[in-house]
């Protein structure tokens, strides 16, 4: 049971929860507050991570500049996603977004000279040299780790440092979103969710608001992509398969639509399921190999989605009267 007590293990769970909090917060804005069924959210993560890595490795931009550009690219992508797709009915919009996200993934897979192809970011600078985008990130992380030593003592390892950084970013994201959602801007989004025609009749530019919601949501997706890239130091197109989008949906549906503060709770539950197969170190689970445990995990995630739809479509914290998936 030592895994249960190790700081390293809980740091990993916490980092996953933090990254998915940022990622799902973007979807919560798009779906929970604006009513947009974005099933291609993972693409914003891919756009963010790849933009940063390409700019650092190929254009030798400083990390902070590349990261800002990555968030910008994510937002532009979100708006582009909406331009054609928003003319469609909700269910067609959902399928179109999946298709667009798959196009992005195939692009990263096929355009080897730009993205490194199936080999991922290590192939960014060509086959002859190993490319690294996270040199200055590692330096930054060391610096933070130094500060943390001063605060919590020397057992603050690099995992713990990453945990702190991810959650500072995640909470900053939520802190930015909170006043936005309570402002008149946020109320217009909700009015569009409730009745698009009414909002439009009141003179609100519905399409423009939807595009803003998609763009900002995708911006958060891009930030999540950056955090993902920094945490794992390497990524490839496989890291952005459609499954990731459904993880965000699981989190948002668990939390409840239009419950931004509940997103970290949903993300924590997801992270426990996602990393928690370590708990299963007793019989009969010891008969299974690591791959089988991973499949078991996906089965649990699917079963939770079905159970939510059957018994609690409003999620753990949502209100049935306000917003459920119909």
């Amino acid at each position: 049971m030592s895994a249960l007590l190790s700081l390293e293990f809980w740091s990993l769970v916490g980092v996953v929860a933090g990254i998915y909090t940022i990622f799902a917060a973007g979807l919560q804005l798009q779906f929970g507050y604006t009513g947009l069924l974005n099933f291609g959210h993972v693409a914003s993560m891919a756009v963010g991570a790849y933009t940063m890595a390409i700019l650092v490795v190929k254009e030798h931009l400083p990390l902070w500049g590349a990261s800002l550009a990555a968030i910008g690219a994510g937002m532009v992508f979100g708006a582009l996603l909406g331009l054609p797709a928003l003319r469609l009915r909700a269910d067609y919009f959902a399928i179109t977004t999946i298709a667009l996200a798959e196009i992005v993934r195939y692009f990263t897979l096929n355009e080897q000279s730009l993205t490194g192809g199936p080999l991922g970011t290590s192939n960014l600078a060509g086959a002859t040299q190993v490319a690294q985008y996270n040199g200055s990130w590692t330096a930054f992380q060391h610096q933070v780790q130094g500060w943390l030593h001063g605060v919590v003592g020397s057992h603050a390892g690099s995992d713990f440092t990453m945990l702190v950084i991810v959650w500072v970013v995640a909470l900053a994201c939520l802190a930015v979103l909170h006043p936005m959602l309570r402002s008149p801007w946020g109320r217009v989004l909700r009015s569009i969710r409730e009745d698009e025609d009414a909002a439009s009749a009141l003179g609100k530019p519905v399409l423009s608001y939807k595009l803003q919601s998609l763009a900002i949501g995708a911006g958060f997706g891009a930030i999540a992509g950056l955090m993902y890239a920094f945490q794992f130091q390497f990524f490839s197109p496989d890291d952005f398969d459609p499954t990731i989008t459904f993880y965000a949906w699981l989190i948002v549906l668990l939390a409840g639509a239009a419950r931004m503060w509940a997103v970290p709770v949903g993300a924590a539950i997801f992270a426990l399921i996602f990393s928690g197969t370590r708990f299963f170190n007793f019989k009969p689970f010891t008969y299974l190999d690591a791959a089988q445990l991973a499949y078991l995990r996906l089965m649990v995630i699917g079963a939770i989605l079905i159970a939510l739809m059957a018994w609690r479509p409003q999620g753990l914290f949502g209100k049935r009267e306000e917003m459920v998936l119909e």
Partner: protein, 296 residues
């Protein structure tokens, strides 16, 4: 020109497999309003049921296929009884049924990976037997796929056009309540629909497995978006449209690589063709190429 015709024939092979799966998507969308994200995994289930007989018990392809159809139909019935019917009774609407089917897809795919691992499997057929007809080369698997799938497509179309069952399906698609009032036993017809969907999905799985020469439990998941694209191309809600849409999409995908026209599309982009077709049709002709505008 022969190379173009070869691509057309390859396209008919791929397309007839798309058509079988797409008909299943369309059949449950029309009457039940389920956008069935798990359709791909019904297809995979069919392929694996056949593999179990073919490799596990040494059965020939005919017995394997028949068992696959039966097994997938039984699976479809069981899922209707334990999942879809209770969800409908709870008043689940289109989007929550969609998310339910995503959850089901996760469960089915990972259950198959759990049970069978992610090894590549192939049916026990002779991969080197090749027929040449008028300069066009077809492998044994492609030959089987074309004959079986086209017959199944014709049978399905006739079944829906000529029988009482077909009339009931159309009636339920238009309005469940009116169909019930007019004396259609809706619950029973829905079960029949799922049996047909299971049979078509099972056949689609076996043939997809055959023509790909080897496959893993992601077989159906990779087929899923092309299936959706076929349905949209033919006009959502029309089963005939889905059958035709599948064939057309298959031919478009394969002929897109024809080097005679501006060098053709690089084959690595072939899967993307389906997505582009899907989005283009939705944007410019959402009622499908054949369909008429209707408020569904």
């Amino acid at each position: 020109m022969t190379d173009f015709l070869q691509l057309v024939v390859n396209g008919i092979v791929t397309g007839s497999v798309f058509a079988l799966g797409a008909a299943g998507v369309s059949l449950v969308f029309g009457p039940l309003r389920i956008v069935n994200f798990a359709q791909g995994d019904y297809v995979t289930f069919g392929a694996y049921a056949a593999i179990a007989v073919n490799l596990g018990w040494g059965g020939n392809m005919i017995w394997s296929t028949l068992f696959a159809l039966l097994a997938t139909a039984v699976l479809a019935i069981v899922l209707e009884l334990v999942l879809w019917r209770p969800m409908r009774r709870r008043g689940a609407k289109m989007m929550s049924l969609f998310v339910t089917s995503i959850g089901l897809a996760f469960v089915m795919r990972s259950a198959m990976l759990f049970a069978g691992g992610n090894l590549q499997r192939s049916f026990d057929v002779d991969p080197f037997k090749v027929y040449t007809i008028g300069g066009i080369r077809l492998s044994l698997s492609q030959m089987i796929a074309i004959v079986v799938a086209l017959s199944a497509i014709v049978c399905t179309a006739l079944l829906l056009a000529k029988t009482r069952f077909g009339r009931s399906v159309r009636a339920i698609s238009d309005s469940v309540d009116l169909a019930a009032v007019a004396g259609v036993d809706v619950d029973r017809m829905v079960l029949y629909i799922w049996i047909l969907v299971g049979v078509l999905a099972g056949l689609c799985g076996v043939l997809a497995g055959l023509i790909q020469s080897s496959f893993d439990p992601n077989l159906g998941f990779f087929l899923l978006l092309p299936l959706f694209a076929s349905v949209v191309l033919g006009g959502v809600g029309s089963v005939y449209g889905a059958l035709l849409g599948g064939l057309v999409l298959g031919i478009v995908e394969e002929t897109s690589t024809w080097t005679g026209f501006r060098g053709g599309v690089n084959p690595i982009w072939k899967p993307v063709i389906a997505f582009v077709v899907l989005i283009a049709v939705l944007l410019f002709r959402p009622q499908g190429v054949l369909g008429r505008a209707r408020s569904l």
